[in-house]
Symmetry: C2
Subunit: 568 residues, 2 copies
């Protein structure tokens, strides 16, 4: 590990020693038992031991090593086993299953930690000259297999960790723009911005363990995107190191200068170069920030309310609504002592029952407001009328505040579940509003049918997470009880039916996780074969030797999901 | 001409028989006289006569003609002289000067009017198979030389007029999306949408004479973009016919599916294919729509107010402010009987004088509001406070309403002026807010210096036209008194210093007019050589034979502005 560069545990999400706990959440174990039949209170095997892994040796040649050491210094050219294993994967559940099973795939031969853009330029040229493969690495939180070399890659594989490029370089206070290095992690960046009274307002679930460069390379979106925009809106200019040249896009609010090169770099997942810095929209910290909580009789009522909020004069910073099962999950995850726990309190329950609601079908919603006290009051009034018109009730600020505090802890639960033979993952999509209900109903049904056919127990739930004028993102979480040898195949079936359901119900392959290898089999259906043709021409034209993270987005061989499942 | 397909006059803007008039505008002639020394009341030469042109013969071969007739029918394969001349140019002032002088350049050999997407598919393949060149044509309002074949093009040149593809195909009322054919003109489209209670909200100056497909191909922006977005935001899906295949991007509110193919088609100016339809965001007609007018002591105060409006909780649908000279121009253009004329009325003048304002420096502003009556009142209150904080005064709704009615008539003035030896044109750019004042001051100064050096009289004025979180578009209009043989060279100097000033002051080549050949010399400076490299690889990969509107955006030979000026 390099001082000052955060690194996740090799076998799971986040910080070493930190994990999910169900203590003080008395309803959680019964909820899991009811949903998938697993007793999470039973004893579990100990954490995987690094010493049990068989780590293939680095294939870095002495020639390239010498050049890289000359550019970066010995300390920043790492070939030790743990560093290479950490950089071999993202944190998709497929990655977690494989690394736990000791299936390491094609590890990088070296991990580099450049300390300046000039060093990135020099290392890119050195690696290309040596016919190597370059894979940029941010926080390592990717869940679509965008960080892994191709199986059987014979060239030297170089992972480039941008973690030392972590400074907010400049804030243009008049324009509300900041120039920030690409390797900065979310919390560090916000600390630097907040200290000067500013915020980016970009808060993906992965916030603690992801970087600005990673957000750009994957077209990330944060929880407050309804106000602050997706990363594609936030990024106004950027610098990307390419073989032999540097792309410099100056910060511009808008431009008509041909096909957007900015929008080609966004989502490029390392296939065009290594992003080293970006100019991003930043905002003054809001005077007031409030998350208001509501309940609806059903998820469909909640969807309808969100659609109407988007068509109204109100512009909240977030609007989120969970389906019935996710609502049960949230309430089961509430601490005994917390207000989420008390949501099912007699008083609220009585109101719901009085309204004739089926408590198994209720949908919980959070709507966020920011601005002056007057503005927040005004917008809350607009939203409140829409909530009421759709039969919803307000339950105040408590649950939203708690959600806000705990929002980044969710990913830890996957490791906890995997320890107990439960495969958990997420898939998200957007559709026009007209198909929002349909894609939810059909995706849940197809997942359940597929699990029934295999004969395993599984559960899927969902929330609407981001809204747009013409539609919304729905974010599905699924859990499958399978600790057999067929675990990976079971997962593949689940992932496959969900992604195909997205395609069949007017959705896209991903709203903000990217394509990687995991989603590449659906690209033809998503953007049509001609769209894939255009992307391929772009990649082949810029990188004819396929040195830049080859195989991602457009896969020339076996597509990721089949490929990996056959490897397993 | 084809029935149902609008066509502009061959020698100027818009409808035959319609022109600018200064009658009933007693202050206009003195204003022009004062600014550039030209007496616009003097007698003018008669309009150009088509019969005076020497029109080169069509080089369409019998083979290709036969195939095209088989696909489209005789009526929709036009090779007559006037049709070919109309389709040879856009309406840039360079185009107008050349066509008036009988310098026709490389005319298209044939103009096609397909009636369906299937016909577009068949004609594209036929033209490519015959090694021809395809140039898509919408309303013909382009001002950056994007519609003209390369001088000396030896292959058959085919202009494809999309005007028969003019229907709103479908409105998805739940999603606020409409599927619309690309050849529809602005007013026809709004009529079709309004009839069902909807609007696109996209109102560029060229609205009457431009089409949906043209807006997409050039990254257009309308006057209400602060609310409705640039066309890049509005377009959610599209269909584009490419050689041998059709690109189909389904309507999606947002997506993370690699480099954005949608954003590659936007601004592609015919270099990737022919756009045949698009899915666009549409909105319910607003309950209330108001344009409020304000005055500031100086343009700089007005800029500051717009910047603060964007940083505030208010979100008006437009905010526009004119510099001192443009304010004088607007007032000079007011009809004797109109309220704009009365703006300089004693009462308002007295208020301004009481505030110590220099009446030569005042800046006029329009801010637009839409929504429920409550919402409009709320936002007007927020804006009003910002206007006051910057020393501005409100003068009510009158001037804005009048501006709104006349907003599409401005382009006719260029022909009127050209008749009188005055070259008029526009150039627009965006910068971050931090450089808004600087780019205005420097561009005006450099233009004046350049005109002084040549020894001609010229005037340039400007308004802020579109606002974003991080900056704004400023739209410059210039007029030069030169009816000599050096007219074109004089124009080139003016255009060149303005564009170079944009580059030197943190601006972009264009905010919404596109690149064409006119702006291609500045692309290296705008998006860096690596950005041009990426665009070139995209074009070359998709169209290796350079059949699709070659020479636009990236020019392989002499860049447009020099090229055309040497032709002149």
């Amino acid at each position: 590990m390099i001082e000052g560069v955060k690194q996740q545990k090799w076998w799971g999400w986040g910080e070493d020693g930190k994990s999910y706990s169900h203590h003080d959440k008395p309803k959680f174990a019964p909820f899991v038992k009811k949903m998938v039949g697993v007793d999470i209170t039973a004893a579990v095997p100990p954490s995987p031991r690094f010493d049990d892994l068989e780590v293939p040796a680095s294939q870095l040649g002495e020639g390239l090593r010498g050049e890289l050491v000359a550019i970066l210094g010995e300390e920043f050219v790492q070939t030790d086993d743990e560093t290479r294993v950490v950089h071999a994967f993202g944190k998709g559940v497929r990655d977690l299953m494989r690394v736990r099973a000791g299936q390491l795939g094609r590890l990088p031969d070296v991990v580099l930690y450049p300390g300046s853009q000039a060093e990135v330029e020099r290392l890119v040229d050195a690696v290309i000259a040596a016919d190597g493969v370059l894979i940029p690495f941010g926080g390592g939180s990717n869940i679509v297999a965008a960080l892994e070399a191709e199986p059987g890659e014979t060239r030297q594989v170089v992972s480039v960790n941008l973690g030392r490029l972590s400074r907010v370089l400049e804030i243009d206070e008049s324009s509300g723009l900041a120039h920030i290095q690409a390797g900065v992690f979310g919390p560090d960046m916000e600390d630097q911005l907040n200290a000067q009274g500013w915020t980016l307002g970009h808060h993906p679930d992965s916030f603690v363990w992801s970087t600005l460069g990673g957000w750009i390379a994957t077209r990330s979106s944060g929880m407050q995107s309804d106000k602050y925009g997706d990363i594609a809106d936030i990024v106004r200019g950027l610098t990307m190191v390419m073989p032999g040249q540097v792309l410099t896009l100056r910060p511009l609010p808008s431009s008509s200068s041909g096909p957007s090169v900015r929008e080609m770099v966004l989502g490029s997942e390392g296939r065009l170069g290594i992003i080293t810095s970006a100019w991003v929209n930043v905002h003054r910290l809001p005077e007031v920030r409030e998350l208001q909580s509501y309940f609806f009789a059903t998820y469909e009522d909640g969807l309808k309310a969100c659609e109407q909020i988007m068509a109204s004069d109100a512009a909240p910073m977030m609007a989120r609504v969970s389906d019935a099962v996710e609502t049960q999950y949230i309430m089961a995850n509430g601490k005994k002592s917390s207000r989420i726990g008390s949501l099912s309190s007699k008083a609220i329950q009585k109101i719901m029952e009085a309204k004739g609601w089926d408590l198994e079908k209720i949908a919980m919603s959070f709507v966020g407001f920011e601005g002056s006290p007057t503005h927040v009051r005004y917008e809350k009034g607009l939203v409140s009328r829409i909530v009421k018109a759709n039969g919803g009730i307000s339950v105040g600020k408590g649950p939203g505040t708690l959600y806000d505090q705990k929002k980044y802890d969710t990913p830890y639960i996957r490791d906890f579940m995997l320890d107990r033979g439960l495969i958990c993952d997420v898939s998200e999509t957007t559709t026009p509003w007209a198909y929002a209900e349909q894609i939810h109903t059909n995706t849940v049904a197809r997942f359940q049918k597929a699990m029934d056919e295999i004969g395993v127990r599984g559960v899927v739930f969902c929330h609407l997470s981001h809204s747009y004028h013409s539609g919304a993102c729905q974010y599905f979480t699924f859990a499958i009880a399978d600790d057999s040898e067929n675990q990976m195949a079971t997962y593949d079936v689940a992932k496959r039916v969900i992604q195909q359901s997205f395609m069949d119900n007017h959705g896209t392959v991903s709203h903000h996780h990217g394509v990687g290898e995991e989603h590449s089999p659906w690209m033809d259906q998503d953007i049509s074969p001609a769209g894939v043709f255009i992307q391929r021409k772009l990649f082949d034209g810029v990188d004819p030797g396929h040195h830049l993270n080859p195989g991602k987005i457009i896969h020339e061989g076996r597509p990721g999901i089949s490929s990996n499942s056959q490897d397993a």
